[in-house]
């Protein structure tokens, strides 16, 4: 079981480790790119890698709250914002690789692509939903929004759902991976329906 408390310097160390780990997918792309090992279809490879990283980190972000509630480890919350911002970071890279590497800023082709293909429409919607969340993630914005911050940030559930649907609709036949992401997302959302464990259950008396 997770410890209920950890020392502040340990938390700082942990945040550093998580920060570096979250940069690994990008580092991998850079290394493979420099070594010219991105395969037969490098553009598709980069596009997919960033998309997968965004979704993975979004699920990691959504895992924090249930994990914290069950274990009583309050310090976990200190990681949530960073993971969420990394999910947004990879979503930006994902959209950028589509707009730049895949379409070369051909806005006419992009508009047509999005209007005609529903998986792109829901993907775009998921990305747009993440923008206000990233913008209001600072301490200042949290204070300013007060009671409205929580309901606003529940939009992340919708963004996660749309992200999974985007993935589900884009694959040709083999639905294994998108379904796996869907199941994990479903479990993480269902976990929120259970009442939080009381503090006294967790703390050794």
């Amino acid at each position: 079981m997770l410890p209920a408390k950890i020392a502040l310097n340990w938390l700082r160390y942990l945040k550093g480790v998580v920060f570096l780990l979250a940069l690994l997918p990008l580092a991998r792309l850079l290394v493979l790119g420099v070594l010219d090992r991105l395969g037969a279809n490098p553009v598709e490879f980069v596009l997919r890698s960033n998309g997968t990283s965004a979704l993975t980190l979004l699920l990691a972000t959504l895992a924090i709250t249930p994990l914290q509630r069950w274990s009583g480890a309050g310090w976990l919350l200190a990681l949530r914002r960073m993971l969420g911002l990394f999910a947004f970071f990879y979503a930006v890279l994902h959209v950028l690789s589509y707009v730049w590497l895949d379409q070369w800023f051909d806005w006419h082709a992009i508009a047509q692509d999005v209007m005609e293909h529903r998986y792109l429409l829901v993907g775009l919607l998921a990305f747009l939903l993440l923008i206000p969340l990233a913008l209001t993630s600072t301490d200042g914005m949290m204070r300013r929004l007060g009671n409205r911050w929580r309901p606003l940030h529940r939009l992340v559930y919708l963004a996660g759902g749309l992200g999974v649907v985007h993935y589900l609709w884009l694959v040709k036949k083999d639905l294994t991976l998108p379904l796996a992401y869907g199941v994990v997302l479903g479990l993480l959302l269902a976990a929120r329906l259970y009442p939080a464990r009381r503090r006294s259950d967790v703390m050794p008396s």
């Binding site: 942990l14 780990l21 991105l38 037969a40």
Partner: protein, 321 residues
């Protein structure tokens, strides 16, 4: 002022060695686990199953070609759609190499004078091997330029002697779960089948391929015998053929069964008819430009309109997609 001496710290506040060690182990394990989950199993580079590469000869130069740059051999043999060996692009190269290509026979059935079986060696004697450099356009929006080795399917059709009732040709792939790991998963309705109208099958561009780049086909490319129909999307090019059936009515192909809205019988390359998932107006040529590879315009009938356009005159290509 109360100054606490170190001895004032109650023993209960001090973390026992075993506990903090366990914590450190947990953090390390958690970190390693997260790292592993973020790094997809394989890098883009593909480990290819060792297979015997066999030169084919003699090969004569075929009447059709293109002066476009050939797609590097490395990509032609590692970026494949062959669900019998897995659904990922690099799965076939990784899992293939298990096909038993000798002996290999093809059953000729249906509306023919006499059903018969032909061994691969005998099939190769039906016509001289030609090299044909064709563009290949996948329905997913990428394309290659491949130097195939084979002979016109028409030569085999002549030998098969179809009856007057034959209007379509149906092709059947091998579906042996022992040799093909992908077949153990019901991702498609096995065996894979494809079909052509008889006049399409007899068209001089339609190739029965046994090799590429001057060598016998590797398993991932559809060894030992596959179809190449350059004006149609790649999935029409059925691989590892074991059966050819002449029929009166239009056959239902594997992809039509899987999703009739997305895949039609004709599947002619057509930039004006979009697929629900992929725009067909443009394509990406594999192996060119790395990350800065720009999409190119897709041509009607993949650039073979002059040769095959008359096969479809008067047909609504939006309806018969």
């Amino acid at each position: 002022m109360l100054i606490r001496k170190p001895t004032d710290i109650p023993p209960s506040e001090i973390t026992p060695r075993a506990v903090y060690r366990a914590r450190r182990r947990f953090l390390l394990a958690a970190g390693a686990g997260l790292a592993a989950s973020l790094l997809p199993a394989a890098a883009a580079g593909v480990t290819v199953q060792p297979q015997v590469r066999r030169k084919l000869s003699p090969i004569v130069r075929g009447p059709y070609g293109t002066d476009e740059k050939l797609t590097p051999y490395e990509y032609v043999t590692t970026y494949n759609n062959f669900y019998e060996f897995g659904t990922g692009k690099s799965d076939p190269a990784r899992n293939a190499g298990t096909l038993r290509k000798s002996p290999w026979t093809v059953a000729i059935e249906g509306e023919v004078k006499k059903p018969k079986r032909i061994a691969l060696e005998d099939l190769l004697k039906l016509a001289p091997l030609e090299e044909r450099i064709y563009r290949m356009r996948c329905v997913e929006g990428w394309s290659m330029v491949i130097p195939w080795v084979g002979f016109p399917l028409a030569k085999l059709i002549d030998w098969a002697e179809p009856t007057g009732n034959a209007r379509y040709v149906e092709f059947v792939s091998l579906a042996d779960p022992e040799q093909m790991p992908g077949v153990r998963v019901p991702i498609l309705d096995w065996p894979y089948t494809e079909g052509l109208r008889l006049d399409e099958a007899r068209h001089p561009l339609t190739l029965l391929a046994v090799g590429l780049y001057g060598e016998a086909l590797l398993d991932q490319n559809g060894a030992p015998l596959r179809l190449v129909v350059p004006w149609k999307y790649g999935f029409k090019g059925i691989k590892s053929i074991v059966g050819i059936r002449f029929v009166e009515r239009q056959p239902v192909t594997t992809w039509m069964r899987a999703s009739p809205r997305e895949y039609g019988f004709y599947a002619n390359v057509n930039p004006e008819v979009d697929h629900p998932r992929w725009s067909q107006a443009t394509e990406r040529r594999i192996g060119e430009g790395g990350l800065f590879n720009r999409r190119i315009k897709t041509l009607m009938f993949n650039g073979y309109a002059e040769q095959v356009g008359q096969l479809y005159s008067g047909m609504d290509l939006r309806k018969y997609f």
